[in-house]
Assembly symmetry: D2
Homo-oligomer: 386 residues x 4
Amino acid sequence: MNIRNYKTTQERRKAIEKNFTVDLKNIGQSLIDDTVAQTRNCENMIGFTQVPLGVAGPLKLSTINNQQSTMYYLPLATTEGALVASVARGCKAITQSGGVFVDSHRIGATRAPVFYVGNLEGQKRLQDFLDTHRQELKEIARQSSGHLTLTDVTSRGVGTYRYVRFAFDTQDAMGMNMATIAVTQMCEYVGKHTGIRCISVSGNYCVDKKPSWLNVIDGRGIQVWAEAVIKKNILHTVLKTSAQKIFDTWLAKCMMGSAVAGSMAFNAQIANIVAALFLATGQDVAHTVEGSMGTTTAEVHGEDIYISVSLPDLMVGTVGGGTGLPTQREALSLLGVAGGDHGKNSQKFAEIIGGAVLAGKLSLLSSLSEGTLARAHARLARGGKT
Amino acid sequence: MNIRNYKTTQERRKAIEKNFTVDLKNIGQSLIDDTVAQTRNCENMIGFTQVPLGVAGPLKLSTINNQQSTMYYLPLATTEGALVASVARGCKAITQSGGVFVDSHRIGATRAPVFYVGNLEGQKRLQDFLDTHRQELKEIARQSSGHLTLTDVTSRGVGTYRYVRFAFDTQDAMGMNMATIAVTQMCEYVGKHTGIRCISVSGNYCVDKKPSWLNVIDGRGIQVWAEAVIKKNILHTVLKTSAQKIFDTWLAKCMMGSAVAGSMAFNAQIANIVAALFLATGQDVAHTVEGSMGTTTAEVHGEDIYISVSLPDLMVGTVGGGTGLPTQREALSLLGVAGGDHGKNSQKFAEIIGGAVLAGKLSLLSSLSEGTLARAHARLARGGKT
Amino acid sequence: MNIRNYKTTQERRKAIEKNFTVDLKNIGQSLIDDTVAQTRNCENMIGFTQVPLGVAGPLKLSTINNQQSTMYYLPLATTEGALVASVARGCKAITQSGGVFVDSHRIGATRAPVFYVGNLEGQKRLQDFLDTHRQELKEIARQSSGHLTLTDVTSRGVGTYRYVRFAFDTQDAMGMNMATIAVTQMCEYVGKHTGIRCISVSGNYCVDKKPSWLNVIDGRGIQVWAEAVIKKNILHTVLKTSAQKIFDTWLAKCMMGSAVAGSMAFNAQIANIVAALFLATGQDVAHTVEGSMGTTTAEVHGEDIYISVSLPDLMVGTVGGGTGLPTQREALSLLGVAGGDHGKNSQKFAEIIGGAVLAGKLSLLSSLSEGTLARAHARLARGGKT
Amino acid sequence: MNIRNYKTTQERRKAIEKNFTVDLKNIGQSLIDDTVAQTRNCENMIGFTQVPLGVAGPLKLSTINNQQSTMYYLPLATTEGALVASVARGCKAITQSGGVFVDSHRIGATRAPVFYVGNLEGQKRLQDFLDTHRQELKEIARQSSGHLTLTDVTSRGVGTYRYVRFAFDTQDAMGMNMATIAVTQMCEYVGKHTGIRCISVSGNYCVDKKPSWLNVIDGRGIQVWAEAVIKKNILHTVLKTSAQKIFDTWLAKCMMGSAVAGSMAFNAQIANIVAALFLATGQDVAHTVEGSMGTTTAEVHGEDIYISVSLPDLMVGTVGGGTGLPTQREALSLLGVAGGDHGKNSQKFAEIIGGAVLAGKLSLLSSLSEGTLARAHARLARGGKT
């Protein structure tokens, strides 16, 4: 059996079922159209994986530049019982306390080819060329796609290699494919004019889908900060804990625990929320790796708690990739960020992720500080009600 | 609107649609049963996110203990065009070269509460208690679940905190919930007999869903190694490259590039393959963060290439969590690892992941070494045929 | 001029002076005997570098196992004005508060050769050999030196390489040379019986003189913990600060600052104190790199402060290396730990380092919390009085 | 006994000797003048620690900008037998192969206070102030010392903290004290005009004397690159090895070994050479921690080997600190870099360190590749001749 001989999703599925004597009925049980998916999103398609989608909210969110607040229901696709309930609880506590405040900064999609420069002289030669041909490189980027602007070029030489990190504004697209196409053309241009060969269009100095200090320190995609102050009485009624208990848990776990474990992530459960939001909205879920690298802070203010999260690296988009798929697009619509709007949608989306992450983290820290985590899981994962 | 007032998936979806004037038709377009999902996997469920599912294969795979080989078709749920095609190409090259060889070792699910011991004397007192009550702790684990065995206890003291990392054999379950429930009971037991309080049942020394050197060094879940030797003519015909080119790309990118970027992941694209397999088979996709931390090696053997991957931390299961959902279970069945079999299924599944990762990595390194990555993306992501 | 043609320290110095028209008078201005130094410690010797040696103390120190306390004057060789004064102030505050309490644990000198095993089968074969020949390996170590005992063997395979970390009890010697000699013989033994070749007797998995998470997590040399509670009035009179201020500084600097900087060292100034003590006592100062990787904690107790330090990796000795040199041996004598005493001296010495580090750190955190750091430096480094 | 009651080095030493019944004769056996040392470099001074000083060379060194080469004899203060001999051998091989080529770039001394900004609005407010008052900050730096120029200000906010990293050109001084004094004044200025309080003049984002990815990625002090190509016959005659063997050792040890150990240092023995040069020349030896974080590369060119080292973080000076002490100044004179020369001397000195590190590394990798490391140590450390 050669899977590439079959032309439709159904034919491929039937062939696999027959060949492996396996029943893939549910994978075929979808009423949505697979025409686009099988040509754009997935080769050798045999159907759909269906992941439960829940909502948590409302979450009141304001940007620090625009004091107007908006209410959001967060779409979370997950198979892990208790996650939606946990985020929902965090949303409730935050919203009742006045909402979450967010800020963001666009670093852009980065792609870093590695060049073979041969020696220190070659390092200088390549760097000089990059410094003196910025305009030409910008033009190559511009011509490769109307949605792409070269915004920064940094580089690092070691031995015979030079890693050049190109950063792009890709507006509302996550933009890795665009960036890769543009960088490929730039590498050809560099090669033609300098004779310096690109070994690989990605030299892992991008750094794509790998945990790395470079991304934590310099940022990637969109950087987001979110903060809230939770009042004493809400800590008591909604979260069943206190400011001091949350602080103690944060310090012992998110700071000291992460420090002694050699972790890059000084937080509680960023990856859970990032993964569920990414999945629901058609992001590349492998970017959860980068999204997980955030830092939480907590501070006792009287009997209230100030809590914040800093996310240095959210690679997200509202157009392209999986965002155009039927269910994913609807989830983006629910957040009011579907489609392109000159980069505003992707940035707003990133800020919502910041708020959602803060909600999830607040709720988990509360559970941990009270020793109820296991009980929540036991109850919900065995079919309990929220 | 309070989402918790609605009882069915459909009612909740309708309420959200009305409240936000948004159309969630496709999220509702599924023929599969949501009864279990909404009670076990997802609170406030409003439908399903549907992710295209493709297959790559066949992949010939042998364990080093049992020379018999098996052919697999890998189920990959993804929205990123070119991924399935890339893995498929890697499978073809590996299978034609005699297949991938794998080995694995079970570390187990780990959960690490942080205790407040107060001072150095308290450190000693807690450690002594743990050393002299191992049997009792084992018994608590045994009674909390029939599928759970306490296999190791390591700990680390710093200041007034002590982090105790309990490792469990959870057979075919990924096991974090089980482990958390058992550890909660152990903490209560410790507290009752020593007066030493658990600050948090998770002290981030577990380390769950965060990139960390502790997990890279000591491992977590199941450790997997996979290797293959790709023959010169297959490098040429299937992968359009050469052994030397793959080696050069690996060294400049996976080793030196990751080193200078401060990365924990010395590889090319582990996260992509892990995420797609996790999603298709009902794993917790947030565990992609841990799964991404692997190391690739490459070595020129004459004109052939030896290539390997070492994955220190795969938190996977074939029962529990999302593995029982309709489409996910079918994907596991396609691999012959659905359900429980005394831990054999989860370990076999982890080994298949190892093989799949090797296939994906080989293909990507080949593309990079030939400069064809951008072209593949441009073609496939715009609706081309594989 | 070939420096190796000259036979004495003086002849070499004269030759250099003539050749480079440079005056090295002071390098020759020593009354101590250079006979041993030039044959054991330094090739091509031309004289002595003279580093100012100060003392800080008394520091009251108790081990948690033996409640008897001892008073120490710490020998610190340094060229950095204000360092001795800073440690002295910390000693005063600690001693007046009842002293520092310490504990320690010996991991041992580790040396990790890397073997070429070729593939997964080779990995298994080497591991099996190591598992079944532990007794023989112990015997090789024993015969190579009477002061050396093999205590642990751990290993890690990746691709065609296997890193085997041998740990040794080297009693009162730091022991790297002994360990290297023993491991070289073990590698020959392994090679002869398995055909598996050692690529390098050090595979950087030791990890010697490099910052590494492996050493932080698993420890190396001697691990030390030190703690003290500083009373409110002493914080006020001696350190001119308060418990809350020290805590705030510690949290913002040692924890969060180190976290966002991607540091392995969650502390204030361990390296300064370790370097000065190492230099005064004839340790290998390059081991300061490992010694710098410690973690500080702070906790407000009413209006007192609990402060601690955890040092996972002190490679120290009281015999061998530079410890036998005239001035260095005297510094060890001042601490009562010169020479060998079945490992007791080196462990006691490591514990004293723990106490000294705590004193230095407490003083610096106090200065920082009060904004007086720059003033202290300005005054002392320009010739002020302590 | 209160050590501060004694006025001279000799009186203090006598008091300690009497109080502890210990003989510190050799610590007193120096003919050099201690007047300056005891007022500027070391409080509570009781004498000198004397460290054997050897020389290695000649080393032929050229900068890539100025093709003229210079011959250097490297002063190395060490107590570790075999180190000088090893560097000497590396110098010989490099010099006979045409010498080492170096390049360097000044990042400057960095000091990063942490401010308490309170929330996201405070983050913005502080950043705006820094952006709009750069000229005033520069002026404060200029007035605090004639040798200090503010060259860069970068910052990072997390929660209620903002870390602001000020970089200074400090010409030929290492400059930490100057930088601290200037930053203290800047913090006062910021506080007066914004009301935003500096928690600590050092927020560990500097990052001083701690291993950190921030310093590896952004650099600190002076960055240096050094490279050489060693000819086949010299590999054979001087180093008793081959290009392929050095490459194999480098790949298994410096790259893969460091990667799996979670190290920040992808090299062989940088710390040894940095420590010995720092000690001989009056640098702050605690900066060895930063100096150790370099990356080595190796590449086979036919039967020759290209070898390089990249040092991102050398905090060095030729004036101030310990550089004015009698023996230390002579060592700097031997290198022709004693005293100030508008920053040229410190940069030249950093480049020499790069060359020396390359020599040491080449020699060690050669020994390791041939299995002779232990033999060299056994012979030299027991009193053999080089």
